[in-house]
């Protein structure tokens, strides 16, 4: 096809211009990143960026309409969050697990102190905050969680070492049901798990006990050591001691549990990542999950009919029932729209979403004033509510070290324990290995966090 020479020249220029445009387009987002999205043009809505689990389109539209702002939902991803924090371009609101996230991020000065916002709020009054919200406090002087400024708030909470059980499986095994008021000893609990487990040809067809609470084997040892009257972490949270009599007892319990192969453990992790699919499939007799798990069970009438809630078992005589979650939100120090973030806080934690959540049984409301809305309409809900109310007397927060992320410490346990279980290494030797590896990590973290 003949093409005019003039035309071919234009095309070349056009392609060159396109290349220039491509460059400009590539450069624009970089420029945009440095612009405060909160101070848009006159009449333009501000945009609040929230890093959270995925939202439905309908929920997002409802929230935007109510709040009068645009929401940008960034799916929660710790690697992305770290990159955004390091690049000083974090989301305005971030989902987090108060009990385990706060020490690490607060100690590094990455969270916004929200005390001034709480002080002037008519919706979220400190006097109405449930004690579980203290997991979102961090004192820079003592370097401990539980006191000091508030850096976030829990949407709800649970006491994560309580457990749910299936009455039909207990009855089939001709076992007495656990008490609603008196906690089982950990040994009796393990024994029940062994009796409830069903096997066939090297496979566990029904798990007797899923015995690890939220937070993994680390929090399990923390809980049991505390129940035995000791502590895994030293007073300054800079070292661990798995060799102390209480921690060693807790570690021994975990090794016995893993060796018994009666439920998910570091040796045979749960492929689903959480208990519900197995529990619902009639393949788990006892599941260590807090009150929040009742929200799922309550959604399946058949399972709810044969499910009951029980107090947290105890390894020793010191009765405790810790919270390892307190999932909620925080505002990064470098967030650009802090006022808008607070507006979101008031709506989400004190508005209709909070009231709706309270009625579903997905955790205990983080505002005391909402506790009366917890479900009590069925026999299942009545039993779980009553057990939970009594358990609140033993609520406790076990401080986590600010010098390493819980995931990092759990990674050491999941690396060391499987081999130890298979080879039958003594608990004492395993404790020494864990002390050495974890304390090395904590020392490195202490150098950086100061």
């Amino acid at each position: 096809m003949p093409v005019s020479s003039r035309g071919s020249l234009d095309r070349r220029r056009f392609l060159a211009a396109s290349a220039g445009a491509a460059l400009s387009a590539a450069a624009l987002p970089g420029c945009a990143a440095s612009v405060d999205s909160g101070s848009g043009a006159k009449g333009a809505k501000e945009t609040l960026t929230i890093m959270d689990t995925p939202w439905t389109k309908k929920d997002k539209q409802n929230a935007e309409r109510t709040l009068g702002m645009n929401l940008e939902i960034v799916t929660y991803d710790i690697t992305k969050l770290n990159a955004m924090l390091a690049g000083k371009n974090p989301p305005d609101v971030v989902r987090g697990i108060g009990a385990t996230d706060v020490p690490y991020f607060a100690a590094r000065g990455l969270m916004t102190d929200l005390d001034s916002y709480f002080a002037k709020s008519d919706v979220l009054k400190p006097s109405d905050l449930a004690p579980a919200n203290d997991v979102w406090r961090y004192d820079h002087t003592t370097k401990k969680q539980g006191t000091g400024p508030r850096y976030g708030m829990a949407k709800d909470y649970s006491q994560d070492c309580m457990f749910w059980y299936r009455t039909d499986m207990f009855e089939a095994a001709k076992l007495e049901l656990p008490s609603d008021t008196e906690p089982l000893s950990c040994d009796a609990w393990l024994d029940l798990g062994k009796r409830l487990a069903k096997r066939r040809l090297g496979k566990v067809k029904v798990y007797g006990l899923s015995g690890t609470p939220l937070g993994g084997p680390l929090t399990q040892v923390m809980w049991m050591a505390a129940s035995a009257g000791g502590s895994l972490f030293a007073e300054d949270l800079a070292t661990v001691d798995f060799s102390s009599p209480e921690a060693l007892k807790a570690l021994t319990w975990y090794l016995d549990y893993a060796k018994a192969d009666i439920g998910p453990s570091v040796v045979n992790p749960n492929p689903d990542g959480w208990d519900w699919p197995t529990y619902q499939a009639n393949r788990m007799a006892m599941a260590t999950d807090g009150y929040w798990f009742g929200g799922t069970i309550g959604g399946d009438a058949k399972i709810a009919e044969v499910s009951r809630f029980a107090p947290a078992p105890q390894l020793g005589s010191h009765r405790i029932s810790p919270c390892f979650s307190g999932t909620g939100y925080w505002v990064p120090k470098e967030a650009k729209n802090k006022d808008a973030a607070w507006k979101y806080f008031e709506w989400y934690f004190g508005g209709k979403p909070a009231q709706d959540r309270a009625t579903t049984g997905w955790g205990i409301p983080s505002l005391n004033s909402l506790r009366s809305k917890m479900p009590r309409d069925t026999a299942f809900h009545k039993q779980s509510y009553a057990v939970q109310q009594r358990e609140l007397a033993y609520f406790s927060v076990l401080p986590v070290s600010p010098y390493a992320q819980v995931d990092a410490l759990n990674a050491v346990l999941t690396k060391v324990l499987p081999d130890a279980v298979k080879s039958g290494t003594s608990a004492g030797k395993i404790a020494d290995t864990l002390n050495s590896r974890i304390n090395e990590q904590l020392a490195r973290g202490k150098e950086l966090a100061g």
Partner: protein
């Protein structure tokens, strides 16, 4: 369309360009063809160059700088530690073991993948019925996203509810903990080799490029299938296979599949990757995002980079005399032909 037209009105004669355009009394000095070509090159290569600088060179340089610090990516108190991270890389038994495991993994999976892909390509190059369907079926695993494939493998090989053990159950055979040591390595190898469709498709293209008359001539000369395959097909296919060898080695040394078939493929779950599947990239990921050791992880990445370069260099060296090019590659090093050359 002639090359003149492609190059514009003044491609051949700057003088002609000067007279062809009406312009101001003082004529502009015409740019040479070479200058304009260079300009066009930079315009078109510019975006890629910027991307390369911004997304490859800068991160590499930044990672190099980080590797000399004890940074956790978040703390302002990070400091320069010199070569301490590199010394740790070469003295940490866990890291050395994961490097050795990665080498072993590559040594097993690369030949297996290439052999399986070539075998399937030879089969699917035969004049059989429904050949297109078979080609599609064999290529499909390569199209499945690795995350989806890994999830499926996890479900199949789960100890207590997976179909692999379900099958054994039918024959009253004890189930195995496939996703734990010592079997996890073999599940990973199977998953890697299962996606050999890419190798198959490239080999198939190579096979179809082999002149039929050479094979016909060999047949006339009395060569059997095996002789034709080893004396004609393989030598002519060797550049294609060599290309695949190099790219497969590089990809395998950076394999991230072990994390995808782990129970929880996040920084939280990285510790649960069975020891036999703890390849170097898993170690890097764990150090970055689980342990927050950005400095040490960056040093690991640089060591891996050097390792990949060294292995690739070795493979090139060892391939001399084994790869047959239709054209001597040395001769193609001369000035490349461009549009306008006659």
């Amino acid at each position: 369309m002639s090359t003149d037209q492609l190059a514009g009105p003044d491609a051949r004669s700057p003088m002609r360009a000067g007279t062809a355009r009406p312009g101001p009394a003082r004529a502009r000095r015409p740019r040479s063809l070479q200058t304009r070509r260079a300009g066009a090159f930079y315009v078109f290569a510019g975006p890629w160059l910027l991307g390369f600088l911004g997304m490859t060179v800068f991160p590499l340089g930044y990672a190099l700088w980080l590797s000399f610090t004890n940074s956790d990516g978040l703390s302002p108190k990070a400091r320069y530690v010199g070569l301490a991270n590199y010394r740790e890389v070469f003295s940490d038994p866990d890291t050395l073991a994961s490097l050795a495991r990665t080498g072993l993994f590559a040594a097993i999976t690369v030949p297996l993948t290439i052999a399986a892909g070539l075998f399937l390509a030879v089969l699917l190059n035969q004049p059989i019925r429904a050949r297109g369907l078979f080609r599609t079926l064999v290529y499909l695993p390569a199209v499945v996203p690795p995350v989806g494939a890994a999830l499926t493998f996890k479900l199949i090989f789960d100890r207590d509810s997976g179909s692999a053990n379900g099958l054994l159950d039918i024959f009253d055979v004890n189930g195995l903990a496939w996703l734990q040591d010592p079997y996890a390595r073999w599940v990973l190898i199977t998953l890697t080799v299962w996606a050999c469709g890419n190798v198959m498709i490239i080999s198939l293209a190579g096979l179809q490029d082999i002149p039929a008359e050479l094979l016909d001539a060999a047949r006339v000369d009395g060569a059997n299938w095996w002789q034709s395959f080893t004396r004609i097909t393989l030598p002519l296919l060797s550049p294609v296979l060599f290309f695949q060898l190099v790219t497969q080695i590089i990809a395998t040394l950076q394999s991230f599949l072990p994390l995808l078939i782990a129970v929880d493929p996040t920084p939280k779950g990285v510790g649960a990757v069975p020891e036999s599947n703890q390849l170097i990239m898993i170690d890097v990921f764990a150090q970055y995002f689980s342990n927050g050791r950005y400095g040490y992880a960056s040093a690991l990445l640089w060591v891996l980079f050097a390792f990949v370069m060294a292995v690739t260099f070795l493979v090139f060296k060892m391939s001399r005399g084994l790869v047959f090019y239709a054209v001597d590659p040395e001769q193609t090093q001369s000035k490349p032909r461009t549009i306008g050359d006659n």
